[in-house]
Amino acid sequence: MVSLGDLPARFDRAIGAGLEPVAPAAPGGLPAWTDDDVRRAVGELPESFRSAVLLVEVEDLSYEEAAEVLGCPVGTVRSRLSRARRLLFVRLEEHARRLGYGRTPGEA
């Protein structure tokens, strides 16, 4: 579980675990995150984050355009997007580790 409050610390732990790239591809060459994993993770984002991600990453709107659509300041789009990306990374990374990809620190 990742709440927004402890996100920075969880993100730092996820990227700081000495894995680079973080969740490497599976032995068979399949990526550790499937498209379904990503879609599910996007679906579970708080609604305001999800809207920012969809408009910028999928619709290719600029931050300014997304701000107009969402009726919020550009800085809000930027910070929501920034937090949403890190939240997605933490969730996808933790999901991949639960499935046995990568190694957690301290593991033999």
Binding site: M1, V22, D35, V42, E68, F89
Partner: protein
Amino acid sequence: MTAESVHYREDLDDLLDGRLEPTRRAVVEAHLQTCAQCRREWNALQRVKESLRSALSPAEPPPQVTAAIRAQLAREPLAPRRGRIGAAVAVGLAAAAAVLVAVWIGRRIDPPAEAAATFLHYKSGDLPLDSAAKEPAELEEFFRRSGIPFRTRVFDLGMMNYRLAGGRVTTLGGRKSAMFVYRGPGNRLLICEMFEGRTSDLPRGGSQRVHEGIVFHVYRDRGLTEVFWQEGPVTCVLVSDASPEETIALAYAKAARL
């Protein structure tokens, strides 16, 4: 995490999205050469961006929705220095965006995942309540005034040591949802949501229980227990971080009063 890399955090997002001025961009790129922490963060952000592009291809949203957004934006060309667009256009854009999100994502996600996300969002302190009513009747009146299209039934769980903390209107399953919050023993959190929908549309992965002739659909997600049941045209769900059996018992107590 060093203070220096904190400083570059949102710059990395700007770099990723091609938004940095050349001078700033050179600074950030030089920093990436020397700071392993920021480099890992940069790699992570690139992976997220690639994953999103791969998983959510632009061909997938309903084309008419995308077209509506594009048409609105085209009508009001966006320049970096322009002022606020007209209110009517902004409303149209917001409506188009809402449809995009509801239609496109709505068919991908499921009420259990959404209700869990709402629970965690509230628990993290990022989802304020719009009413702090502590009495069921008062909160029911708030939902009526807020345009919830069915009669809500906010229940009194005082006998089970759960106290009403308030409520707000949210969305669930693409519909307006009446959400209300209780605090229980040990500061445990219980959230109830009611929305127009059918439990028969819930995704697989839950288990079913029958109590006093009512079917309960139980899901476990990220340490939470969710219990759904049908009340006429309305689907009700209880979400809690209490134990599964305690959450189910609360649902039994509530639904049995029909």
